[in-house]
Symmetry: C2
């Protein structure tokens, strides 16, 4: 039976589109079972509808994090995903959520973690003056951008870069890296040693 | 007049050798005016002597950091270096030392800073499970491996790496990167904006 992905997003969901493309092209051997947004106006929801992918909004306004995550767990369980992919989902997940899907939640972050966790990572890196930054796909644990690293891509900072041109190049790297990391995790061709994710041939 | 470098080291000084090679090959337009070690038995001192480069030991045993740095400042001033290059110099420098040569001290660190400052950076990176690490040449300020970054090189972590094979590959990157960074700083073809070192054409 085809493996199932769930994608959580809050905005335009360009990483969701990159994942959907990889699924369509057979680079990820799975189907996207559901796309969930916490914002009703997320452009990613609209794109999912256009692509005929089941999608829904679980609105986050006016509910506590615990209540929200309970609803989210309920919706996700209905679709029974093998892997949950955060794609610009702008909410911290509760320990209860992490526990419900432990080892089955991936996130992509626009820096070479552990450098520059948190918000606005591209600007953090730019202002710090690093010559390399990039993106990181990692398992989600209870910490902030702290789970075991599945895959990274390095992106050089150019002398004529602005935060915007740098962020654009990092985003391209994200679109190339996230689908490959998802395919790897779905294939099971890795083992976790301490906090290292070692890829198997 | 030729610009003058001073190199400080504590051990084998393989980065010192890479710098000496670059000087010999004309890739760094300067001379090494002096090599100073805090340890009398540092292999780097011996290599300097073999190469006919002035070298001396300012022993660090049994003196306070302030006393030590005072002696070091005195010895360095005698040679009037344009740039002081730390090459495996295993001592923290005092604020007085930094102030005496502000903007003229470089260090190389075996990670992509700001990730993994401090000791045993290669192992820190390996154990953290990053897929990219590397090396960083930076100006030295009062913090730990925290000054403005001049140059970095990214080094991928391979699935069959051990800490040792990884450290070996990082060291090769150091030998390629440090001379280029020194040549850049000596050329003056950069400006500092905030904590960014922007290279000029």
């Amino acid at each position: 039976m085809k493996k199932k992905l769930a994608v959580l997003l809050s905005g335009r969901g360009s990483n969701f589109e990159a994942i959907a493309r990889a699924v369509r092209e057979g680079k990820i051997d799975a189907e996207i079972a559901v796309v969930i947004s916490n914002r009703p106006d997320a452009r990613g929801l609209e794109r999912a509808r256009e692509m005929g992918i089941p999608s829904l909004c679980v609105p986050s306004r006016g509910v506590t994090r615990e209540e929200y995550d309970e609803k989210l767990i309920e919706e996700l369980r209905r679709h029974n995903p093998d892997l949950i992919c955060l794609a610009g989902f702008m909410r911290l997940l509760s320990p209860a959520f992490i526990a419900a899907f432990r080892g089955r939640i991936l996130n992509i972050h626009p820096s070479l973690l552990p450098a520059f966790p948190g918000l606005d990572a591209q600007r953090q890196a730019f202002d710090h003056g690093v010559r390399f930054t990039g993106c990181t796909v990692h398992f989600v644990d209870e910490g902030l951008d702290s789970g075991p690293i599945v895959m990274q891509a390095a992106v050089p900072v150019r002398d004529d870069d602005t935060v915007e041109t740098l962020a654009e190049r990092i985003l391209e790297a994200e679109h190339a890296t996230y689908p490959r990391a998802i395919a790897l995790v779905l294939s099971g061709a890795y083992r976790i040693e301490g906090r290292r994710v070692v890829h198997r041939k």
